[in-house]
């Protein structure tokens, strides 16, 4: 690991001032950053520890029924929150299916969105072709092992996927990322937060250098919501594919509105917007719902080794939707 200088800050102002200096990276929970440092994915001159910045570790109810989750709230604390459990179960489930209890006690909800891909060429300890690690070196996975890769939105430059579980739930919830920077701050929809390869492989998110996530904001409660994660072992493993769904039912039990996001199929959570519109007005167990989800997955353009994930993603989407609607077909 390359030497760096460390400092801890306790105010957001100090954090912003330090983070905008060149060669500086930000430490929060550390569960990603420490591995980036070890692998040489990141090699900063300075590391600013923001984990004790005051005020970013709270969860507050918003006027209008939403929820503001401070960026530094640890994943396990988000999942244990009573409001989250009651009103946004999809987020609680996605967190509980992430990583391990130990890692969730460290990892923060804000920086969880900054996870980088698990593509083995990107994470390689030896030099392997990867346009994200070494610009212009090529995509090792495109010519090699491509069985944990993208179904949507990839290019010849990069076929990787975004591995975060909470991000998928947050995308289905239309959550907002609230940021602060020297010039002010902004609100970014989680669905617009990650950068697809077509827009460049030199960055993972739209966050600018020195811009910090202050909070994640949830809108209206989504008590009918669920997360389904399919993986090669029952726990403590990344998804082959996952799905988050929220649904509102009318008095007759038909779908009034639904939101569905897939995980681990692209470099951002992938919303099935067209299918969401098509299933409005249908009973959750109507065969037309299954057909709409199948049609959505027919638009997938998988890399060859990952074509098998289409059926998994389709099944996960259906199961998440049925579970959210409390229908057991």
């Amino acid at each position: 690991m390359k030497p760096f200088a460390y400092a801890r800050v306790t105010t957001l102002e100090d954090a912003l001032a330090a983070a905008r200096e060149p060669g500086t990276v930000v430490l929060a929970g550390g569960t990603e950053l420490l591995n980036w440092l070890r692998l040489g994915i990141s090699g900063p001159d300075r590391l600013v520890d923001i984990s004790r910045v005051a005020g970013l570790d709270r969860i507050e109810r918003l006027p209008g029924g939403g929820l503001r989750i401070g960026a530094l709230v640890r994943l396990n604390h988000v999942a244990a929150d009573e409001d989250v459990e009651r009103d946004w179960p999809v987020l609680r489930e996605a967190i509980h299916r992430s990583a391990s209890a130990q890692l969730r006690n460290l990892a923060t909800i804000g920086a969880n969105l900054l996870q980088k891909t698990r593509c083995p060429y990107f994470r390689s300890e030896d030099s392997a072709p990867c346009n994200r690690r070494v610009p212009g070196s090529g995509c090792g996975a495109r010519q090699g092992h491509d069985e944990r890769h993208a179904l949507f939105g990839w290019t010849e430059d990069c076929i990787a996927t975004q591995p975060s579980d909470p991000a998928v739930a947050l995308a289905a919830l239309d959550a907002q990322v609230v940021t602060r920077s020297a010039s002010g701050g902004r609100r970014i929809a989680v669905t617009d937060f990650h950068v697809l390869p077509a827009d460049g492989v030199d960055r993972d998110t739209v966050l600018e250098h020195g811009e910090l996530i202050e909070a994640i904001e949830l809108g209206a409660p989504a008590p009918r919501s669920a997360y389904v994660k399919v993986r090669e072992r029952e726990s403590y493993e990344y998804a082959l594919a996952s799905a988050a769904a929220t649904v509102e039912l009318d008095d007759g039990g038909r779908i009034e509105s639904a939101r569905i996001a897939l995980g681990s199929v692209a470099l951002r959570p992938w919303r099935l917007t067209e299918a969401e519109h098509r299933i409005a007005g249908l009973a959750p167990d109507d065969p037309a719902v299954t057909a709409a989800l199948a049609a959505a997955l027919e638009q997938a353009h998988p890399v060859p080794g990952s074509a098998y994930k289409i059926a998994i993603a389709r099944g996960a989407a259906r199961r998440a939707l049925m579970t959210a609607a409390e229908v057991h077909p």
């Binding site: 760096f4 102002e13 929970g29 550390g30 420490l34 520890d49 209890a101 006690n105 460290l106």
Partner: protein, 168 residues
């Protein structure tokens, strides 16, 4: 507001197993795990993968179980750490340690300190009521000898003993 002082070595004070330890000029890159093992001679927590994937380095940080390899020692300054060496008291092993022995919950023993610390936390969190829950909430501790059935039994027994302590 004073500008933060960046330094490549840091002075640390932290409470480890109930004792305040002061360390000077520790390289900023040192992990909490390496601080314990290399600077404080506490080799209970093991370095398995050094990537947060195996759980052999699990310790309690301010009462919460964490992977010692994923925490910078500098970031643990001022915190309270408990390792497997800090569990026994008055010459008596902790109830979880006794349960691991009684249930043969290990073969080679390399993962055991992490398993034991993780189990202590799992029980105090209230995540040890039944087998499925124990398996889920202990999944961050990998056992290459695959002693999982015995580990589950040990955690279950220790949790039950904690809820119904024997008369002393």
């Amino acid at each position: 507001m004073s500008a933060p002082q960046f330094a490549d070595h840091v002075d640390l004070r932290l409470r480890v197993n109930g004792v305040v330890r002061a360390l000077d000029r520790i390289d900023a890159r040192v992990s909490l795990l390496d601080l314990l093992r290399e600077h404080l001679e506490l080799t209970g927590a093991k370095k398995g993968c050094n990537h947060g994937e195996c759980g052999a380095c699990t310790v309690l940080l301010d009462g919460h179980r964490v992977n010692g390899c994923m925490v910078l020692a500098a970031a643990a300054d001022g915190r309270e750490v408990v390792t497997v060496e800090g569990l026994a008291s008055d010459g008596q092993l902790h109830a979880v340690q006794r349960a691991f022995i009684e249930h043969d919950a290990f073969q080679c023993g390399f993962c055991t300190p992490g398993q034991v610390i993780s189990a202590v936390a799992c029980i105090s969190e209230g995540h040890a009521t039944e087998e499925r829950e124990i398996r889920e909430w202990m999944s961050g501790n990998i056992c290459r000898c695959s002693s999982y059935p015995q580990i589950v039994e040990a955690v279950k027994a220790a949790a039950a003993a904690e809820n119904n302590p024997p008369p002393r």
